[in-house]
Symmetry: C2
Subunit: 154 residues, 2 copies
Amino acid sequence: MLRLTKKADYGLMALKYLAEQASGSAHSAKDIAEAYHIPPQLLAKILQTLAKAGLLVSHAGTNGGYALARPATEITAFEVIRAIDGPLFITSCITIHGACDLTSTCTIKEPLRKVNDSIKDLLSGIHIADLVDADGDQAGTGAPVGGGLVTIAI
Amino acid sequence: MLRLTKKADYGLMALKYLAEQASGSAHSAKDIAEAYHIPPQLLAKILQTLAKAGLLVSHAGTNGGYALARPATEITAFEVIRAIDGPLFITSCITIHGACDLTSTCTIKEPLRKVNDSIKDLLSGIHIADLVDADGDQAGTGAPVGGGLVTIAI
DNA sequence: CTATGTAGGACTGGAATTGTCTGATTTTTG
DNA sequence: CAAAAATCAGACAATTCCAGTCCTACATAG
């Protein structure tokens, strides 16, 4: 199904949220979770992960929270996904150790590795700032809530 | 983790196998499974799925089996993956119905939809015949079994 | 008629994802 | 100083999904 985990989804949404807000101020996990109706404790863990990965800076204590560690134009979707979901492997043949049950018999490793790289490049070309812009586009279509659903027929 | 299922992996390997063999003859699921050390019954189901999707033609009975329904140059990796794993959605936000729990709040649908399309294009540009060629490349490197492992450090 | 195959459904075990709970630590504020 | 508001961290439960197996029915060549 080649899909992102919900965590990665949530992470991207949170980063986008932070990118839209006034840059300096910190926003708590709770605030962001409420804005998007995400389980607060789950988002908290995700933000912790992103902070540990250096994409966010955290500040504990009252009025604390998270803020982008870098400008939104310099954080890529790939970094976010990698931080949350771990290394990106399109096939189970290709693991971090390079091990493969079918080492001698699996013959599609190499071609799929190229696809893997291509997807990586694709995601590396998308920045948090791009998500913010795209949102503006969507609003510009004037599609009403509930009618603006995205349906993909592949 | 953005990965293909093993089934899709197996499916691609099987199609590659069929592409390498003499075009006319049919090969049974069992034969292919043995060649790659894949669980035979699992591969059987995968091949059935591919046959139903029109990518393979099947022939029951003794000396029956499967053969490519089209030339290997005209079957794309995308078709195979789609047939096996179903529609390709990068996010859980984007479903076949367009429904999304976070309809009004999820704001990253549209940008990710473009990524989705890009990946689709990417996979659509890869044909079974390309896999066969790539195998030749790999063999050409002369890397010994066990040393030719593919390790990706992202 | 029998061996060899495909067709297709049901089912199980295990792994991964998702979400929850609890406690500790940091920092601001009154 | 004490309380409140946060992050930090680990363990844990629930659920979903994938991988693989089993069983039966049907088709065809010899």
